[in-house]
């Protein structure tokens, strides 16, 4: 059963985060870790948002908006996957699981690439606004000219808000089907989450842009493995 108030909430918050990513403030509320967690929190499934956000933060870590180059839209990937995972978890009634998080990322992780296309598609609209502003300035309508700047935001809010709302609806619809999946497939999906996480972390190590990133990543990974194994052995003893 789709909860439309939750869908609307996801859409509005998703639209606002899309604005924060590029048009306003850029205080990193739109980073995958924060965006997905906050969306999960709003929908009452903070754990799903957090773990989806953690993986996508690592996956998109090295992407940067340099000059005119457009990176993938990490925010729509995070908000879309988080909305889908949270609503799917709510509709199953069993809470978030690694299988649900993996399924959400498999189904909607590619939204980052779509977002880049949307961002590129919206650029001519902004170019028209800039031309309009110049024309108004030449006619002496200075206040109206500079206010054209704010009109650049609404298409992002509407398009990305609708996409996130759509992902939430998809999550509600997929939920009952997930509950009926064969156990082996659910186990496979549960195994897929850490597998994708390991890949995302490896991509993050490269995306850190550090010199000798492999050495640093490997050394710390080895330390963490030793510490965790030692802790487990102590508990068993």
């Amino acid at each position: 059963m789709v909860d439309w108030s939750q869908v609307a909430l996801a859409g509005v918050w998703g639209g606002l985060l899309a604005l924060e990513r590029r048009a306003f403030l850029q205080a990193m509320f739109s980073r995958p870790l924060v965006a997905a967690t906050s969306l999960g929190l709003l929908l009452g499934e903070v754990e799903s948002g957090l773990f989806v956000g953690m993986l996508l933060e690592l996956y998109h870590l090295g992407a940067a908006n340099l000059g005119a180059a457009l990176p993938e839209n990490d925010t729509i990937a995070a908000t879309g996957c988080s909305a889908a995972a949270a609503s799917c978890a709510l509709s199953t009634g069993g809470g978030g699981t690694p299988a649900i998080w993996a399924l959400a990322i498999i189904l909607f992780g590619w939204l980052g690439a779509l977002g880049r296309k949307v961002d590129r598609w919206l650029e001519p609209y902004n170019t028209r606004l800039a031309r309009k502003a110049t024309a108004r300035a030449e006619h002496g309508e200075l206040r109206r000219a500079v206010r054209q700047n704010l009109w650049g935001m609404w298409p992002h809010f509407l398009i990305y808000g609708a996409l996130v709302g759509g992902c939430a609806v998809a999550g509600y619809l997929v939920g009952p089907a997930v509950a009926r999946l064969p156990l082996q497939l659910v186990r496979g999906l549960a195994w897929a989450y850490p597998a994708m996480g390991a890949v995302a972390a490896a991509i993050a190590a490269r995306g850190s842009h550090a010199r000798h990133s492999a050495s640093y990543a490997a050394a710390v990974a080895a330390l963490v493995v030793v510490a965790m194994v030692a802790l487990t052995c102590r508990r068993v003893a």
Partner: protein
């Protein structure tokens, strides 16, 4: 030619107006476009200051039009240029220099400041804190997201406000002030933190989730995830597509879970 005394002699720009300019600078990229890039955002941010400095409509129009020309820099570092532009516009309004000075000031600084800001914020601070806080999720839970926001914005907002004031006070000499911040050196250190934190995240995901979900094959699964991380790192260095890697890993894991 520059200094605090110069700004003090330009009472037309009030503190309230400066605050408004700073607030409006947060919308710098609202209508980013491939031709003028941040031109409209810059004109929008500067407008209250230009209105104060040029009560004469013709001079005001000329001032707005010179800031509708191409402009692009790193959005946080733009605060320094905004401050510097107000410094120069004050001098132009008082007849102490020509309008070409402010145009040259923007053209000279937007490139170097963009390179400096991109290197520090986009390629160092953000990845380092992102990886660190993602690796801290097992320890802090959802607080890791809040920690990321706090740590990032303490640096971001402090620097942004400081750069704006620096531009206002120093004008052209703000380059010296920015150089004293040693951003490239801090950037190199932060990138190391990012790589190390990513390593910690691989280990946690492999050991903790592998052992929890693998049952009898938990240990083998954990080793498999660690190996997968190492192979993925190697494949990314060979320019293997990130999406292909992610979906291939998911496919392998689903197949293993279904048939093992």
């Amino acid at each position: 030619m520059s200094g605090p005394s110069a700004l003090a002699a330009a009472p037309q720009v009030s503190s309230w107006t400066l605050l408004r300019v700073f607030g409006r600078s947060l919308f710098l990229q609202a209508s980013w476009n491939p031709q003028g890039m941040q031109n409209l955002g810059l004109a929008y941010a500067l407008f209250p200051a230009l209105s104060d400095l040029y009560p004469d409509p013709d001079r005001q129009m000329a001032a707005v039009r010179r800031h509708l020309a191409f402009f692009n820099t790193q959005p946080y570092m733009a605060a320094a240029i905004l401050g510097g532009v107000i410094f120069h516009e004050g001098r132009i309004a008082r007849g102490e220099e020509g309008p070409e000075q402010v145009v040259a000031f923007k053209a000279a600084l937007m490139g170097p400041l963009a390179a400096l800001g991109d290197g520090f914020f986009w390629l160092s601070l953000r990845p380092a804190l992102g990886a660190l806080c993602a690796a801290l999720v097992p320890v802090l839970g959802a607080w890791a997201a809040l920690l990321f926001l706090v740590l990032y914005n303490v640096v971001h907002l402090t620097l942004r406000a400081r750069l704006f004031r620096m531009g206002l006070r120093l004008g052209d000499r703000l380059v010296e002030g920015v150089a004293h911040a040693h951003l490239p050196e801090w950037g190199a250190r932060l990138r190391t933190v990012g790589a190390a934190s990513a390593g910690a995240a691989v280990a946690y995901l492999a050991i903790s989730l592998g052992a929890n979900q693998g049952g009898q094959v938990g240990d083998a699964l954990a080793v498999g995830y660690l190996a997968l991380g190492a192979v993925a790192y190697w494949l990314t260095s060979k320019r293997f597509g990130n999406y292909a890697l992610l979906y291939l890993a998911a496919l392998l894991a689903v197949a293993a879970g279904a048939f093992l």
